[in-house]
């Protein structure tokens, strides 16, 4: 797909701008282009940081063939929000005080960010975050999914995750009986 951006701009201007552009352009599997803060991308994604440092960022849009446009939009949105949010002061201090904690609780804006997503969008975002080596986004999305799973029955879980029940009726009954206590809230 052709790139719209920069088209018509004078060649010199473009070259000058390139050196200190503070954004990078990413291209989704279905050819859509997104601009993201270079600083945030490098800080939040190990894969993008590597590409930026290695000079393999294409100004006309770096191909990310594994990521669909909806997921990439969310990734970019997350990076840009992160760039604008009170940077890491809160994150840094929490990472010190909760050094041994397995997971740093999402911040308010991160919570809001994932709360508005559908299951499918959330699942795609997990894959994108994983692919791009975005540890924090992966944590936040995985945390959201686990929160979503908590009150669900095994039937609902199968539905959400598209899992086939491979137990026989008898096997299932046996397990249910063995674990009956866990099926009641106390």
């Amino acid at each position: 797909m052709e790139v719209d951006k920069g088209k018509g701009e004078a060649e010199e201007t473009r070259k000058v701008a390139e050196a200190d552009r503070d954004t990078v352009t990413l291209k989704s599997s279905d050819g859509k282009l997104f601009e993201v803060s270079k600083e945030a991308a490098a800080r939040l994604s190990t894969v993008l940081a590597g590409m930026i440092a290695g000079g393999s960022i294409d100004d006309n849009g770096t191909d990310l063939k594994q990521i669909g446009s909806e997921a990439l939009e969310n990734v970019v949105d997350y990076c840009n929000k992160h760039a604008n949010s009170i940077p890491s002061a809160a994150l840094i201090s929490s990472s010190i005080s909760f050094n041994t904690a397995p997971f740093k609780e999402p911040e308010e804006w991160e919570r809001k960010f994932v709360d508005r997503l559908s299951h499918d969008a959330l699942f795609d975002l997990v894959e994108a975050a994983n692919f791009l080596g975005m540890e924090r986004l992966l944590d936040v999305t995985c945390h959201k999914i686990s929160e979503m799973m908590k009150g669900k029955s095994p039937d609902q879980i199968r539905e959400v995750f598209n899992i086939k029940n491979d137990y026989t009726k008898e096997e299932l009954e046996e397990i249910r009986q063995e674990l009956a206590w866990a099926f009641y809230d106390d």
């Binding site: 699942f123 799973m149 908590k150 029940n165």
Partner: protein, 405 residues
């Protein structure tokens, strides 16, 4: 990280992310329930790798301990105990211990000795060699299969329970008495002999592994005392030599046997610091990943010694405690959520919380007089004047599976 899609489950999230970034965040009860989602989820949730990761992430910050009260009885063989009752108790916060798990047996069980805890599994060794393992968090309660029979029903047999990092499995091990007797020497003296074997069993594995396997004989007779269980190794007190054939003096010299779960061999180590024997008033236990020796030289004092795991233990004296009441038998130790503090129970009924840094302590409760056991179904009791041992082990929740599946 791989990004292949799950084949077995059809989920769109890569398996390793689903399992190790999402499922591990769920509460234990939820995961118990989700075993019924599909076979691969069940296998995952019950694997020791997953259970260990889950435990790591949900590190116990609870100030509770488990209590296992048990009646005393003189005759060790008689099946005089109804069963096992496990209570949760929050020392210092409450005087009530709540029933978590009970298992009663129609014909009763023999008396059990000091239980051991490892990653949420509790091992309960009975006098005649029957061994129970349970997980109060998942409510699994299992009697291990019978192993080699003890010769002449030797009393007060013990067992060890621990994690083997090399195989990733949890194992139980115990000594058994093959034969025992006294012979006369030509000179008229008496020589006692005994032959002791050793067997191990792997938990939560395939059905074919659900049996005891006899391994190397211990080089010296193992004593009927609780072992220290650390990852990869069990430490037993053993009798190196007895000098009873002189008739005038009875003495012994003890050693520590270190059993490696990986290569299933014993190595012999010098006995504890400050004396050559493990006296009847001393106890061994695990404390914060270290070997702990609770030495009681007189009824009103204990000293706590610690050593790092390793081929040569360097024991160091951690603190000395002046007991508020005299011990008759021995003082047992149990770690608390605060690494500088431990629980000490004098004769398994008088509970102290002791500061390892200076030996100071606070009295928590006289469990015989003041502790109320509540079965949460309306029945409450206090052991009172009845002779009870109120055994304690650390409160840990885990998904670890005991039975083969």
């Amino acid at each position: 990280m791989t990004s292949h899609r799950s084949v077995t489950c059809g989920s769109i999230i890569p398996d390793d992310i689903l399992v190790f970034q999402i499922l591990v965040l769920l509460p234990l009860k939820c995961l118990v329930r989700f075993q019924s989602v599909c076979k691969s989820w069940r296998a995952t949730i019950l694997s020791s790798r997953f259970a260990r990761r889950h435990m790591e992430l949900n590190k116990n910050t609870s100030s509770s301990i488990f209590l296992l009260p048990r009646k005393y009885q003189k005759d060790l063989i008689r099946v005089g105990i109804r069963g096992v009752h496990i209570y949760r108790f929050q020392p210092g916060h409450s005087k009530v211990a709540e029933l978590i798990l009970e298992r009663n047996f129609a014909n009763g069980i023999p008396i059990f000795s000091n239980p051991l805890q490892c990653d949420g599994l509790i091992l309960i060794p009975c006098a005649t060699g029957r061994v129970f393992v349970c997980n109060p968090a998942t409510r699994e309660f299992v009697e291990l299969p019978p192993g080699c029979q003890n010769h002449n029903m030797v009393l007060d047999s013990r067992a060890a329970l621990g994690f083997d990092p090399r195989s990733g499995m949890y194992k139980v091990a115990r000594p058994f008495l093959r034969s025992y007797g006294v012979t006369q020497t030509n000179g008229g003296g008496k020589v006692t002999y005994c032959s002791i074997g050793y067997e191990t069993l792997t938990l939560g594995c395939g059905k074919e592994a659900w049996k005891w396997k006899v391994t190397m004989d211990p080089p010296y007779p193992i004593m009927s005392r609780s072992p220290i269980c650390l990852p990869g190794f069990f430490y037993w007190g053993a009798v190196k030599s007895m000098t009873d054939h002189d008739n005038d003096k009875v003495g012994s010299s003890d050693v520590i046997l270190r059993y490696s779960l990986w290569d299933e061999t014993f190595t012999v180590h010098d006995n504890l610091p400050c004396r050559g024997t493990l006296s009847i008033n001393d106890a061994l236990c695990e404390l914060g990943g270290k070997l702990c020796y609770v030495h009681s030289a007189s009824p009103l004092e204990v000293s706590i010694w610690l050593a790092e795991e390793g081929p040569n233990f360097a024991w160091s004296l951690c603190c000395c405690v002046s007991l508020p009441i005299p011990r008759h038998h021995r003082v047992l130790a149990c770690p608390s959520a605060n690494k500088d503090k431990i629980f000490l129970s004098i004769d398994a009924f008088y509970l102290l919380k002791c500061d390892l840094r200076d030996g100071s302590f606070e009295v928590i409760i006289n469990m015989a007089q003041d502790l109320v056991y509540d079965d949460r179904k309306g029945v409450k009791f206090t052991s009172g004047a009845l002779p009870f041992a109120h055994y304690m082990v650390p409160y840990v929740e885990s998904l670890l599976r005991i039975r083969p599946f």
